[in-house]
Symmetry: D2
């Protein structure tokens, strides 16, 4: 688990660097389309981080809700996922 | 539940009609941008159907997995949701 | 061009059939996750139709706006694309 | 124009801070769903930056392609937009 979190933090730090790079592109008056492509690259990278965090969530929090046998806790976990899902689509 | 399914079927039949309308627009050589806007309207309508089906799913299949106390079944339900979620994003 | 339009109409008729198939799935009480996957398949097919219509639009309407040398007409065409783009993202 | 670019840079610096905040959340072992919600907030903020850059692009680069009366240049600008559009959708 800790290794996964390390990998996720590393990815996010790379994304932070990419965002800083876009600020520089705008300050240097780089071509808008190149800026827009970089923005798309950052969004794709963030989507991969989302996937990783969701996978962690399933392997840990969701698993422990299943193991607990606590129906209320399980229902909460399902609802959180469905809400997240509804927000992501738009 | 049956009422929800009726409502969903009615919505899908309306969407079917919208798709048929787009075929007609193309045959009548209507302006591309109008066609594209109609395509967007159909996709928005499909997204609302997805929300409704997902809500049904939570209220029925997910609830019965929780009630069953069957950990394997609950795990399957979570994984299905997470897979669906991953596919929707792209 | 006419061939492209024929191909697009054929795809849309296939999509119409897919939507009708989903109505049947719901009436037959098929598993929600299977229904959701079919809804995703229809949305992917619609996205491909959008791509095709957009490509037609560029090859015809946009080209004729460029050929016309009419700045107002060109501006209109750009704005329509940008508006469409803004709506698609959400 | 310069004002618009300043505003966009300011937004991107705020986004950079948000990404750094998510790294901290993960290091502090915060709840996955809260992390996922923050990731969604960052993506929504990036989408707003995209809109702003695209608007700038239309007001400047696209306008000067229209003013130039250069058909090749106009075609290039249209194609760039359509390509960007195609990539955004998926």
């Amino acid at each position: 688990m800790a290794t996964d979190q390390d990998a996720t933090c590393k990815r996010l730090k790379r994304i932070e660097g990419q965002v800083r790079g876009i600020v520089r592109m705008i300050e240097e008056d780089r071509y808008c389309i190149d800026v827009l492509q970089q923005l798309q690259a950052v969004q794709a990278a963030l989507a991969r981080v989302e996937d990783a965090v969701l996978k962690d969530h399933t392997a840990t929090c969701v698993e422990s809700a299943i193991a607990s046998g606590d129906a209320g806790e399980q229902r909460r976990k399902f609802n959180e996922l469905v809400d997240l899902f509804a927000r992501t689509k738009r």
